[in-house]
Assembly symmetry: C2
């Protein structure tokens, strides 16, 4: 936890908050909080700043804070990614959120096993908790929007064309012939396939929609490292 995120329900008065639960435990064990100790804080979907511990109880800590530093700029890149197996899903979420991605669609694909959709890690509470951990890691208080689409064709045909207006679109593919662009500045959607890649039909659908196949090289990366490497290449410094 590099930054303590404060939610509206934590606020007890202007500039004051009470922290309980996991964040309190981490304050105690990781930051070794004690009265007078300062730590980095962020107001959920607001600014960053610093807090000072005013009191420590057995189950909660009170702190005073000032948040007046704007959050880091969001990535211009949104992600469409074939739903990975559950363990990898959490990692992909971290890889993307830690690099400032604010919109992610996890989608179906022929090679996505149906059982993945029922994984407890995909439940709303579990996703929100992982997103919070990733935001705390990267010191960014601004929540991303995470969506799931279980039907490939309607998403590609009915929803994607609207998303692509005024937006560049790339499909990461080890067999792609164009290089991955460096440090994009325009709004961009990046699509990443499942282990083993999208099928020819699916690739065709992306191409029809206007996606260009790009490749970092011949090596086949695990989903989370593909996302991290492509974002590292394509993100402007943000």
């Amino acid at each position: 936890m590099n930054c303590l995120l404060l939610n509206p329900e934590d606020l007890t008065a202007p500039g004051r908050a009470r922290i309980t639960g996991r964040r309190f435990q981490q304050l105690k064990t990781v930051i070794r909080a004690e009265v007078g100790k300062r730590c980095k804080v962020g107001l959920r979907d607001g600014c960053l700043g610093f807090g000072t511990i005013c009191s420590m109880g057995p189950d909660s800590a009170e702190l005073e804070f000032v948040c007046d530093v704007p959050p880091p700029p969001p990535s211009p890149i949104s992600l469409i990614i074939a739903l990975p197996r559950p363990k990898s899903f959490t990692k992909v979420l971290h890889a993307a959120v830690e690099q400032g991605v604010k919109r992610i669609w996890f989608i179906s694909s022929f090679k996505v096993e149906k059982s993945y959709w029922n994984a407890p890690r995909l439940m709303q509470d579990a996703v929100e908790e992982e997103v919070t951990l990733a935001l705390e890691q990267c010191c960014d208080p601004v929540s991303p929007r995470i969506e799931f689409r279980r039907a490939f064709k309607p998403f590609l045909e009915d929803e994607v064309p609207g998303l692509l207006v005024g937006t560049d679109a790339f499909l990461g593919d080890p067999a792609g012939t164009e290089p991955v662009p460096s440090k994009v500045s325009r709004p961009t959607i990046l699509a990443i396939g499942p282990e083993g890649g999208f099928t020819d039909y699916e690739n065709g659908k992306f191409r029809e929609a206007g996606f260009r196949s790009v490749s970092l090289g011949a090596r086949v990366l695990r989903s989370e490292f593909a996302a991290a490497a492509l974002l590292g290449r394509m993100n402007p410094d943000c």
Copy 2:
């Protein structure tokens, strides 16, 4: 396993190999091998190619193979990285090996807990097994050289200057002022700090040795995603 790596001891005759153990189990379950099935193979530290299953026993499979495709080019980037906690160590290893890094030094730092050095994951057999999994993932048969240095100062003062001859050197640091270079072509060493960063003293030692502090932005990434993102930015397409 996107590529079956063949070791010298697997070869029973020129162009023939017998596979047992974990790789045999994965051939059966993941690739669903049966006689006549073709799969991508690589000769350890040699070329890539294809194999065909000739026979399947209860504990082993025999295959014929031809390997005549050169491996993907290595990354020009070598990595110096503060030893992360054991779970993260394995992930960093994957992030680097999957992007073609052929030399990694895991080093000490003030913020590296001493207990990390005794983790079973750092034993030679465990490291070799993880490296093999990463090479199988990314379809690259060429083994990297992984080294450990428990003494920060002697490494920086006595060993690094020799490594830096004819080599560019960068230190990834969220507080760095220079941008991370894109797609380097010269031999390059990239240093990455521990969670919480190198100390001022340690940063000073890197600067004295000739490293330039570079940053992808203000966000603080987990070690494995910092490695993956920096390599994604800096690697040429390889």
